[in-house]
C-alpha cells in the first residue's frame, strides 16, 4: 500500500471522527434545549454522521475492509423512530460516502462491489428493522430495550443474507475462486460484524438514556476492538513477510533456485482457492509452500552434500527446522509429507496425505520443470499430467490447468 494513500486514509479517519463527534454534540445540545428537531434536520444530521463514519474502515480477518457505516446505521435505526427518516438517512449517507471515497480514493482495498454490498445490505437492514420492531412491540410483551435487541438481531440476519448473495455474485464473476472458499472467507469476519452491530445498538440505546456519555460507553469498547482488529491484520502481514524472508535464506545462500519458494506458494494458493479449501487451510498452505524447501539450508554442510540426499531428506530436514516453532506444527507436518507421491507402490490410496501437501507437490514440480529444465508452461503442465494419478493427485493437476487458463498463461 502506498504511503500517501495511508496518509489520506488517516486524515480521512480523523476528519470523519471529528465531523461525527460534532454532529452528536450538536444533537445533544439541541435536545437538551427541549426542542424536537424538525424531520429534515434529523435526516440531514444522521446522513452526515453515517457518511462520516462510513469513511472509517476496519480490516477484517478475510482481508477485506468493513465500513464503520454499518455500526452507524445500526445506531441510527435504534434512535430514529420512523422508517422513512431511517431509510432516507441510510441511503443518502451510503451514496454520499461512495462518491466521496471514489473521489478521494480513500477506500483502500475496497472495490465497487463492496460499496454495492454495503448499500444493499444496509437498506434491507433498515426495512427489516423498522417493520419487525413494530411487529414485535404489537405482538409480544417485551421490555422496550429487549424489543429493540430482537429487531436488531432479525434485521442483522437479513443484512447477512444480502452479503451472502452479493458474495455469490462476486464469485460468479471470478471463476478462479471457489464459491465455498468465498463463503467461508466471508464467515471469517463474523467477529468484526458482530462487534459493529452490538456497538451500534449499544450506542443507540445508551444515547437515549444517558446522552453524550453514550459516546464513552459505546465508542471506547469499540475503539479497543477496532485497535485489536487493526493490529491483528498488520501482524498477519508481517508474519507472512517473516516467513517469506526465512524461506528465502536457502535461496540467497545458493542452495535453492532463486524465487522458487515464492512462485510455488503463489501457484499453490491459487490452486487451493480454486479447489475451495478452507481459508485457514489456505493460510497454512501458503506458509508450508513458502518453506517447503527450507531443509536445503542443511546442504550448507559439505559433508552432507558429498554423502548425497533425496527429496525425502530435504522434506524431513525442513520439517525438523519448522517444528522448532511451536505455532507451526501443522505446517511442519505438511512440509514433511509434501514429497510423498499420490500413489506409493503397493498402497492403493494413502489417506494420510492431506490435500495441502499434494498441492505443494504439484506447484513445486510445475515451477521446477520450468526453471531447472527450461520447459515452457505448457510443457511443464504436460509433465504434471503425465504423472497425474500416479505421482500427482489428478484433481490438483486439473485445477492447475484451470488456474493457468484463467491467468492467461496457457490457451484453453
Amino acid at each position: 500500500m502506498a504511503e500517501s494513500r495511508i496518509k489520506v486514509l488517516t486524515i480521512a479517519t480523523w476528519f470523519a471522527t471529528l465531523v461525527s463527534a460534532g454532529v452528536f454534540v450538536a444533537v445533544g445540545v439541541a435536545n437538551a434545549g427541549g426542542d424536537t428537531l424538525p424531520w429534515l434536520l434529523d435526516v440531514a444530521l444522521w446522513s452526515i454522521a453515517i457518511t462520516a463514519l462510513a469513511l472509517i474502515t476496519v480490516p477484517a480477518p478475510s482481508g477485506s475492509r468493513l465500513s464503520l457505516g454499518i455500526g452507524a446505521g445500526v445506531a441510527a435505526s435504534v434512535l430514529l423512530d420512523d422508517p422513512v427518516s431511517l431509510g432516507a438517512s441510510i441511503s443518502i449517507a451510503l451514496v454520499a460516502s461512495w462518491l466521496i471515497q471514489r473521489r478521494l480514493g480513500v477506500g483502500v482495498g475496497r472495490r465497487d462491489g463492496d460499496y454495492l454490498a454495503d448499500a444493499l445490505s444496509m437498506a434491507l437492514y433498515g426495512v427489516i428493522y423498522s417493520y419487525s420492531l413494530e411487529l414485535i412491540v404489537v405482538s409480544m410483551d417485551l421490555q422496550p430495550t429487549w424489543s429493540v435487541l430482537a429487531a436488531v438481531t432479525l434485521a442483522g440476519l437479513g443484512w447477512f443474507g444480502v452479503r451472502a448473495v452479493v458474495a455469490a455474485f462476486v464469485g460468479l464473476e471470478r471463476s478462479d475462486l471457489a464459491g465455498r472458499y468465498l463463503w467461508l472467507l466471508a464467515l471469517e469476519d463474523w467477529a468484526v460484524v458482530l462487534s459493529m452491530f452490538a456497538g451500534g445498538a449499544l450506542f443507540g440505546l445508551a444515547w437515549s438514556v444517558m446522552g453524550l456519555w453514550a459516546v464513552a460507553v459505546a465508542i471506547l469498547p469499540y475503539a479497543f476492538a477496532h485497535t485489536a482488529f487493526e493490529r491483528y491484520s498488520s501482524t498477519r502481514v508481517t508474519y507472512g513477510q517473516t516467513i517469506k524472508a526465512l524461506a528465502q535464506i536457502p535461496e540467497v545462500a545458493g542452495l535453492a533456485p532463486l524465487g522458487h519458494s515464492t512462485r510455488t506458494s503463489d501457484i499453490a494458493v491459487a490452486i487451493a482457492q480454486e479447489i475451495g479449501l478452507k481459508p485457514t487451510a489456505v493460510t497454512e498452505l501458503e506458509y508450508a509452500a513458502l518453506m517447503h524447501d527450507v531443509g536445503r539450508i542443511t546442504l550448507n554442510e559439505p559433508a552432507i552434500l558429498r554423502a548425497g540426499f533425496t527429496d525425502e531428506d530435504i522434506a524431513r530436514w525442513g520439517a525438523q527446522i519448522i517444528a522448532e516453532a511451536p505455532y507451526l506444527q501443522r505446517v511442519s507436518e505438511l512440509v514433511r509429507l509434501q514429497h510423498r507421491p499420490y500413489r506409493s507402490p503397493g498402497v492403493e490410496f494413502d489417506p494420510d496425505i492431506p490435500m495441502t501437501s499434494k498441492i505443494i507437490k504439484v506447484a513445486s514440480a510445475y515451477d521446477q520443470a520450468q526453471i531447472e529444465e527450461g520447459l515452457s508452461p505448457v510443457e511443464s503442465l504436460e509433465r504434471i499430467h503425465q504423472g497425474s494419478a500416479y505421482e500427482f493427485d489428478p484433481r490438483v493437476a486439473a485445477s492447475l490447468r484451470r488456474v493457468l487458463v484463467f491467468r492467461g498463461v496457457i490457451a484453453n
Binding site: 471506547l220 524472508a245 539450508i297
Partner: protein
C-alpha cells in the same frame, strides 16, 4: 543458591501462606455481617465468571504491560450492586480469582494461598473507596459514578502492586523490587478501565438487563481479537527464534549463542532502564544478529587460511542478501539496522553496517548488543580456544571500554550479571594463550562456525582487498 537460603525462603513462604488466608477469612467474616449478598444471584455469578475468565487470561500488550480487564469487571459490579452489597459481592468475586489453571495443574500451594488473601484485601480497600465516594456524593449521577470507579480502580492497582512487592521482598529478600516510580505505569490503564467500568455499570442501571449482551459482545469480540493479535505476535517471535535455533543447532560451537546473546542484551537493557517496546527491540536485534551467517557456506567459514578478497566479498554478499531479506519485513527494519552495527566500535572504528558512518558511534542498542555478543564469544568454547573465565571476560570488556565498547554499557552489564549471581564461562582461570594452546591440542581437528573468528579473518581479508 545456598541450602540455608532456600530453607529461609521456604519458612517465609509458609508464614505468608498462613497469614494471608487468615486475614482473608477474617475480612470475609466481618463483611458477611456488615453487608447483604448481592441480588439477583445469577447476575453476581455472571460477573464472577467474567472476573475469573479475565484473571485467567490477561493479555500481554507489550512485554511487561498486561491488560487485565478484570478490574473493569469488578468496578462495573461495584456500581451495579450498590453500596449495601458492593463490598461483599466484589470480595466474594475476587476471592475466586485464586483459581488459576497453572497453579491447579502444578499443584502449587503458595500462590493460591497468598492470592486469596491478596485479592480480598485489594478488593475490600478499593471497593470500600468506591462506596465511600458514592455514599458521600450522588450514587445516581453518571459523572460521580465514573469518577468513583476510576479512583477505585487506581486504588486496586496500587494496593495490589504494593502487596506483591511486600510478598516478594519478604520471601526473596530483594529490597528494591518495586520502586514507587513504576506505579505511574499502572495508573494510566487503571484509570481508563475504572472509568469505563463505572460507565458500563451506570448503563446497566439505566437500561436494565438488555445492556448485558450488548456490552458482553463488544468486549468479548474485542478481547478475542486482542488475544489473537497477541498470539500471532508470539507466533512470529517464536517462529523467528525457533528457526534460528534449529539452524544454528547444526553447529556444535554456536549452539545456543543467539539465545544467550538475547538473554544478556535483555539483561543489560533492563538494567539501563529500558522497558516495553525499546527492550523488545534490543532482544529481537540480538535474535537476528547472526542470521546472515546462516547463508554463508560452511567451507568458507571454516577455511583455515586467510580469505582472499573474492572470498571475503562472497561472504559479505551472503550476509547482505539476508539483511536485505529481513529488511522486507517492515517491523524488523529497526532491528536489522541495530544488528548490522553490532561490530561497530564505540569510538567509531570497527565494522559498520547500515545508517552509521565510519567514525560515528553506533546506537546505544547496537553498543549493548556488541558487549553481549563479545561476552558470550569469550565465555563459550570455540573452535580456536576453550572457554575463558567470567573474570577474564569482564577484564577484557573493561580494558576495551571507551574504545571498542561503551564503558557505561560494560559497567551496567557487569553490575546486572553480578547482581543476578549468575556465572558463565570456564570455572578455572587460564590465560588467553593457554586457552588457545589447549584448544589446539584437544580439538585441533574441529573448526566450526564462529562469528567473531570469521569476522576477524574477514576483516583481514578486507584489509588485503583495500591494501
Amino acid at each position: 543458591m545456598f541450602p540455608n537460603e532456600l530453607a529461609r525462603q521456604h519458612r517465609a513462604k509458609v508464614r505468608m501462606a498462613i497469614a494471608f488466608p487468615i486475614v482473608g477469612f477474617a475480612v470475609v467474616g466481618v463483611l458477611a455481617f456488615a453487608q447483604d449478598f448481592p441480588r439477583p444471584v445469577w447476575l453476581w455469578a455472571l460477573f464472577a465468571a467474567a472476573f475469573v475468565f479475565f484473571e485467567w487470561k490477561s493479555v500481554e500488550v507489550n512485554d511487561k504491560l498486561f491488560a487485565s480487564p478484570s478490574v473493569m469487571v469488578i468496578m462495573t459490579a461495584a456500581v451495579i450492586f450498590g453500596p449495601e452489597s458492593a463490598v461483599l459481592g466484589c470480595v466474594a468475586m475476587a476471592a475466586l480469582g485464586l483459581l488459576q489453571p497453572e497453579d491447579i495443574h502444578d499443584r502449587r500451594w503458595f500462590q493460591p494461598a497468598v492470592n486469596f488473601g491478596q485479592l480480598i484485601i485489594t478488593a475490600t480497600i478499593s471497593i470500600g473507596v468506591v462506596s465511600i465516594i458514592l455514599a458521600a456524593t450522588d450514587p445516581t449521577s453518571i459523572p460521580w459514578i465514573a469518577l468513583a470507579s476510576a479512583v477505585g480502580a487506581v486504588t486496586y492497582g496500587i494496593v495490589n502492586y504494593r502487596l506483591v512487592a511486600f510478598i516478594v521482598s519478604r520471601v526473596y529478600g530483594h529490597k528494591d523490587v518495586a520502586p514507587w516510580s513504576h506505579v505511574a505505569q499502572i495508573v494510566v490503564p487503571f484509570v481508563g478501565m475504572g472509568f469505563l467500568g463505572g460507565l458500563l455499570g451506570a448503563t446497566y442501571l439505566l437500561l436494565g438487563t438488555a445492556a448485558i449482551p450488548l456490552i458482553g459482545i463488544v468486549f468479548f469480540t474485542g478481547y478475542m481479537a486482542f488475544e489473537s493479535y497477541s498470539r500471532l505476535r508470539q507466533a512470529q517471535l517464536s517462529t523467528l527464534a525457533g528457526f534460528i535455533k534449529a539452524l544454528e543447532a547444526k553447529d556444535l560451537y554456536t549452539r545456543g549463542h543467539t539465545e544467550r546473546v538475547a538473554y544478556f542484551s535483555n539483561m543489560i537493557g533492563e538494567h539501563m532502564g529500558f522497558n516495553g517496546t525499546r527492550l523488545e527491540i534490543v532482544r529481537w536485534s540480538a535474535l537476528i544478529h547472526d542470521v546472515g551467517k546462516l547463508a554463508v557456506p560452511r567451507d568458507l567459514i571454516r577455511k583455515k587460511t586467510r580469505l582472499t578478497p573474492e572470498e571475503y566479498e562472497e561472504m559479505q554478499g551472503h550476509v547482505h542478501h539476508v539483511d536485505g531479506l529481513l529488511n522486507e519485513v517492515e517491523f524488523l527494519r529497526p532491528m536489522v539496522e541495530i544488528a548490522s552495527n553490532h561490530h561497530a566500535h564505540f569510538d567509531g572504528g570497527g565494522y559498520h553496517g547500515s545508517n552509521v558512518g565510519e567514525g560515528d558511534a553506533p546506537s546505544l542498542e547496537a553498543r549493548i548488543l556488541a558487549v553481549a555478543d563479545s561476552f558470550d564469544a569469550m565465555t563459550s568454547t570455540r573452535s580456536y580456544r576453550v572457554a575463558l573465565t567470567q573474570d577474564f571476560a569482564f577484564r577484557e570488556l573493561r580494558k576495551h571500554g571507551g574504545s571498542q565498547f561503551d564503558p557505561e554499557v560494560v559497567e551496567a552489564f557487569i553490575e546486572a550479571l553480578t547482581g543476578a549471581g549468575e556465572q558463565y564461562g570456564s570455572p578455572i582461570e587460564i590465560s588467553e594463550q593457554e586457552a588457545r594452546r589447549r584448544a589446539e591440542v584437544g580439538m585441533g581437528q574441529e573448526h566450526a562456525l564462529d562469528p567473531m573468528h570469521a569476522r576477524r579473518r574477514a576483516d583481514e581479508g578486507r584489509e588485503t582487498a583495500h591494501g
